[in-house]
Every structure is written in C-alpha cells, then in structure tokens.
Symmetry: C2
C-alpha cells in the first residue's frame, strides 16, 4: 500500500507492539482487583518520570528516561513477564530478553533498531543516571499499588520483609527521597503484619 519502505517497517513495529496490552502483571491497579498490563504500566511510569524528576539523585535527560520506560517491557511480548518475586527465574536481563529485543526492535530501520536496543540495554545494565532513576520508578509503582491493595502481591505470595527490601532497595540508587517514601510504605505494611517477617 505504501512505497515508503521505512514507513512499512515502522508501521509493522507499531502494530506488533500492540501485544504489550495483553501482557498481564501480577500487580493490580490502585485499590483494585484488576491486574495491570504492561502498556498501562509503561504509561504510568512515563508519567511518574515526568512528575517526580526533581527527586532523582542525579540530573537526568528526561527524554531518555521516558524512552527507557516506554520500551522497557516490550521484550516481554516475546520473552514473557517474569515476576519480581519469582523464586525460580531471574528477573533481569536474560538471554531470552536480549533475543526478544533484537527481534522486536529489529523490525525497525537499522539505526532506530540500534537506538532502542541500546536504550533497552542501558536500562537493563542500570549503570547510568537515567537507568538508575528509571529503575527507581519501576520498583516504586508496584509498592504504591501493593500498599493500596492491603499488601497486594506481598500478601498474596507471602513475600518476607527481607526479600521485599532486597528487591526494592535499588530505588535508593536513583532517588533517596523516593526510597525514603517507599521504605515507609513497606515498613508500615510490615508493622501491620501484612508483609511477613523473615
């Protein structure tokens, strides 16, 4: 229909990533029983990046942070979602995810594919100011959701306090302010017995 081959590639990518809307997370919407999907999650994190930028420990390039957050879960279309508190599978940067990144971003013209693969890798590696801030937000949202849902996944999967802290404390690398806020929520749920000891 179009003779513009770059546009054809871009349109095919745009249609393909629609599948992100079907990938269901373990966490639920605020004060709700309805599970969140990855597209909703990605939108919410981008909004958080915009609104909470002043709390990043370091100066960040906001556009790069938002790009990271918009694309960070797209690999799950091919590689599947791994729950943060999964006890059998590593959450981070698997071979399957790298393969998925190359497959999905590889649908785009080469220089666009390379840009998005590199931004995704930068997020996964977590070694830049932008990646640290983006990770803080990715950890903070489900803490807020769990706190609004009588413990949410903490209660549902009986995740012990030490595990919750271990999995979420990297918020501090991106933002001391947001970690202080998140830690208060976690400690409050622990003191109420919602997050089990251990």
């Amino acid at each position: 229909m179009s003779t513009n081959s770059r546009l054809d590639q871009q349109i095919a990518f745009i249609e393909y990533i629609d599948k992100l809307k079907y990938i269901t997370r373990k966490t639920r919407l605020f004060g709700s029983g309805r599970h969140e999907n990855d597209a909703e999650h990605s939108w919410h994190l981008a909004m958080m990046a915009l609104v909470l930028k002043e709390h990043s420990n370091e100066q960040v390039d906001l556009l790069k942070v938002i790009k990271m957050l918009l694309i960070h879960d797209i690999v799950e279309i091919n590689a599947g979602d791994v729950f943060l508190y999964d006890t059998t599978k590593n959450h981070d940067n698997t071979e399957e995810e790298l393969k998925a990144a190359k497959e999905i971003f590889g649908m785009l013209p080469a220089e666009q594919a390379n840009e998005l693969i590199n931004i995704w890798l930068e997020f996964e590696e977590g070694e830049t100011a932008e990646a640290r801030y983006a990770h803080s937000l990715d950890r903070l949202e489900p803490i807020m959701q769990n706190a609004s849902n009588d413990g949410g996944t903490w209660a549902e999967f009986q995740v012990p306090y030490s595990t919750v802290i271990h999995k979420t404390q990297k918020i501090e690398k991106g933002s001391n302010v947001l970690w202080s806020y998140a830690k208060d929520l976690i400690d409050d749920n622990h003191s109420k017995g919602i997050i089990p000891k251990g």
Copy 2:
C-alpha cells in the same frame, strides 16, 4: 507519612491518574474484539511519536510531543470520553475538559500544574508544530486499528466516507506522509464497501 509536601501532592496525582486505565475507548486493539483504554492508547501514541518522528512536516521537540500524548486524555477521567464520530457532542476542548484539566493537573505543585495545563491547552488548540504532529498520531492510531478490524468503528457506527475524511484529514497538517498512508487505508475500506458512501 512523608513530610515532603511537594512529594505528597505528586503521589496523590500519580494515584489519581490510575483511573485513566478504566476509561474505555470505542476503538478496539489491533485485530481484536477488546476495547482499548486511554492509558494503553496514550502509551501507544507516545511510542508512535518516537518511531515516526521523521515523518512530521515540521521539526518538533520530541519530549514536548510525548508529554502532550501522555497527558492528552487525562481530562477524560473527570470529563468523560467523547467519541470522535459522536454526532451530538463536540469532541474538542469543551468547558468540562478545561475544568477537568484545572482540577486534575491542579493536584500538582503550582509550577508543574501550570506546565501540564499549558501543554494540554497547546495540544487542544493545535497551533504549534508539536500539537499538529501529536494530533496526526491521535487520528492515525484508530484508523490503523479500524483497518485491522474489518472497519472497526467505521462499520459498527456506519460512519460515512465524507465524515471519516472530515474528521481525519487534519493528519495532513502534521504529516503529509502519514496522511497519504492513512488516506490509502480509508479509501481501501471505502472501495470494499466497509466505509459507507456519503
């Protein structure tokens, strides 16, 4: 829980806008019977802005475009969604929407509230390069979805060809390339009898 009053305002806003995930659009996901919600739609448009930027007629500030698209439907949480082809209610920039923008963005610290209200107004007014490009994408996504769904809302609501063109041709103000692509999809659906004459 926090003594940081700016953060408290920001957190309240972040929780409030979760409601965008419950606002259902008339259009459905690609090749699907499932209606799209506004959060998914906003995520998808931000991704389109990123990937299709080279097709904007004018140079644009991509961060501003993405901000516009992330927030453009948030007013619908308070004002409700108005269907593009609604025959009784104006789609654009109603008093209710301005009131909603002031209420919702007004939850944020003043300078952040002002920034987002102004970006939302700039989108609604459609008089800048960023707003024109953003509008192109907001019109293009449902055309692609309808084309993937045997006519989608065009067929479901029997929207005549002249109305479809009238409501979508502003894509051209933002992007000649995207309008050419969209027009081909519309004309193809018209020639197949999926979009009725008239």
